[in-house]
């Protein structure tokens, strides 16, 4: 079982990202789960979304998770949310930031000694999509770090998921995915 936790602000697309990832993974014959904690959260409120991926049907409905990957798509949440909650020894962190990895860890010492990757999903989504919707670039970064799918396969699969959108939006998302894939480190 592979488990992923997203840290986001309501409106940044974590739920859509988690569901998009679930769609792509389900097409390969695996079993998936995508969910989020809602409450009465308003746009901008800190929230979490989750993915589970397994070879077997997923029966676990607990919200509790010890994630393999933590994806932080809003830069501020690195400091205000408990992004290391319930971590494992080998939990990997992919964090949206304009800082270098060294600057980031210096600014948030609890990331010291952990496997941390950085990518500026905000800038990438502003440059490619024209809005601060950092979910698509984060998926590109996740593909690079996890090796879950190669870039071309993933882009092809995401095109299908996004097929109801205008071509311009699909192209912008593809550019965002590719740039984050190449820039995450």
């Amino acid at each position: 079982m592979l488990e992923i936790r997203w840290h986001s602000r309501a409106g940044q697309g974590a739920v859509t990202g988690a569901k998009g990832l679930a769609d792509v993974v389900a097409n390969t014959g695996k079993y998936v789960q995508a969910f989020a904690f809602y409450g009465s959260a308003k746009r901008g409120a800190a929230m979490t979304a989750y993915n589970r991926v397994d070879e077997q049907p997923i029966l676990n409905h607990e919200k509790f998770m010890r994630p393999d990957y933590v994806l932080v798509i809003d830069p501020g949440l690195t400091y205000t949310a408990d992004i290391t909650a319930n971590e494992k020894e080998n939990t990997k962190y992919i964090i949206t930031t304009h800082l270098s990895k060294e600057e980031l860890i210096k600014s948030q010492p609890k990331l010291e000694g952990k496997e941390v990757y950085v990518v500026d999903c905000m800038q990438i989504s502003l440059d490619t999509i024209g809005r601060a919707i950092p979910n698509a670039p984060m998926l590109g970064a996740l593909m690079k770090v996890s090796g879950m799918f190669d870039l071309d396969y993933f882009k092809g699969a995401m095109k299908k998921v996004l097929s109801k959108f205008p071509q311009k939006i699909i192209d912008a998302n593809m550019a965002a995915i590719e740039r984050a894939y190449n820039e995450v480190h």
């Binding site: 998936v32 995508a34 969910f35 029966l59 409905h61 607990e62 919200k63």
Partner: protein, 405 residues
């Protein structure tokens, strides 16, 4: 003619989307609805399907849930297929009309996304609304995941509309944990689903003006009792039709449903008896207990009403201890499952230890570890041959432990 919706063999749908597609495929004539969290997306998706040409029927946006169910009653009495969706406070407001629907023998389908009842206000999942309506004379079917929410919604039409039944049917799914959790779902293609559900067969239709009838009449002591007795009789006997529809669905899809759901109960010494998504989580806990040598199983009611009394007796006939998990505030007594399961066991001459756990209220997370604690309690009781923990406990409650008896 409604357009065919292109569906993949495997879709990734949350419980709301799954229920919405089942409603779309069922060729409903009238949906009258007033959306409420967490079932809003059922109504929202359905109305989008209709706007996009995938539904032939009418969608009536009403001003309250009382009116939503009243609209369904009127449509069904007029002689057409009717359905709606609701949750929590909306369900509570519908209750008066739920009794009207069953008393008038109208085969309406209600998809219920279970949510806590205020106060305090809470939008998350528990079974307070399910428990509030369980004695309203409806058939109650329970799902544990989006696939089952889809399957049971399709089957609900077949069951309720059967000429031997003619009763309304609720299909329950857990708010958020099922309704907003996307998982793999294998839908039927539109034509298969349509063929399975079949054409609506009007009975005593008000629109059949050549044969005028009255619905919802007043009966005092002269006939009321006979009406209610007949209604109860037909609800009790609907299990036959439910089993037939389950069997036909299995033939078509390979997916098996039974009035009582069991997991590893053949040799189980201890069992968790629960409803909703917790049933599947409990399977994981049971497997982990078995690795420690404790013969653990899981039981649930796929059909809450009519209550599968004999099947419950049978499946629990050899257990030493059973924990009934109620996801609803019991309001001054034991939880419903404790009372009903205890009664079935006692009537069957069995006296295993029966414990009651109140859990998950207002969406409180139910973890695998909590369920393992329940099995540990059961194991202690099974070995002692008597209850060595309090009969009623609160699982996952913060602060000092709360227990009774």
């Amino acid at each position: 003619m409604a357009k065919k919706y292109e569906l993949n063999e495997v879709e990734v749908w949350d419980g709301n989307m799954a229920a919405a597609h089942a409603l779309r495929q069922a060729d409903i004539d009238i949906v009258a609805a007033y959306p409420i969290t967490p079932s809003t997306p059922i109504v929202q998706n359905y109305s989008k399907f209709l706007a996009d040409g995938y539904v032939d029927g009418e969608f009536i946006m009403v001003e309250s849930e009382h009116s939503a169910m009243s609209g369904c009653v009127a449509a069904s009495a007029a002689g057409v297929r009717a359905a709606t969706a609701t949750s929590s406070q909306g369900f509570a407001l519908m209750v008066e009309v739920l009794y009207q629907a069953s008393g008038m023998r109208l085969p309406i389908v209600l998809t219920v996304v279970n949510r806590a009842l205020a106060a305090p206000l809470n939008v998350n999942g528990d079974h307070s609304d399910m428990y509030l309506g369980r004695d309203a004379g409806w058939i109650n079917l329970c799902s544990y995941n989006p696939q089952e929410a889809y399957d049971l919604t399709l089957m609900a039409f077949r069951i309720g509309e059967d000429l031997n039944v003619r009763l309304p049917v609720m299909v329950h799914q857990d708010g958020f944990i099922c309704s907003h959790t996307a998982q793999n779902v294998r839908p039927l293609q539109d034509e298969e689903a349509r063929e399975f559900v079949g054409e609506f067969k009007p009975v005593n239709s008000m629109l059949d003006v050549a044969n005028p009838v009255t619905h919802g009449v007043q009966t005092e002591e002269d006939w009321h009792f006979e009406h209610k007795a007949r209604q109860h009789n037909d609800l009790m006997n609907s299990m036959k039709t439910i089993n037939e529809v389950f069997a036909e669905f299995k033939d078509r899809t390979g997916r098996e449903y039974t009035p009582v759901y069991t997991y590893k109960m053949d040799d189980a010494d201890v069992a968790i008896f629960a409803l909703g998504t917790t049933v599947e989580s409990a399977r994981i806990a049971a497997d982990q207990m078995r690795q420690k040598g404790i013969k653990a199983g899981v039981v649930s009611l796929r059909v809450l009403r009519p209550f599968p009394f004999k099947e419950v007796q049978e499946v629990l006939s050899n257990v030493k201890a059973v924990a009934t998990l109620d996801r609803s505030a019991p309001g001054g007594t034991f939880g419903m499952l404790f009372n009903e399961i205890s009664a079935a066991l006692l009537a069957g001459g069995k006296k295993p230890v029966v414990l009651n756990y109140i859990y998950g209220l207002g969406g409180r997370d139910t973890t695998i570890n909590m369920l393992k604690e329940v099995y540990e309690d059961l194991d202690k009781c099974a070995k002692a041959g008597e209850a060595v923990v309090p009969l009623q406990q609160f699982l996952g409650l913060r602060g000092p432990k709360l227990s009774f008896y």
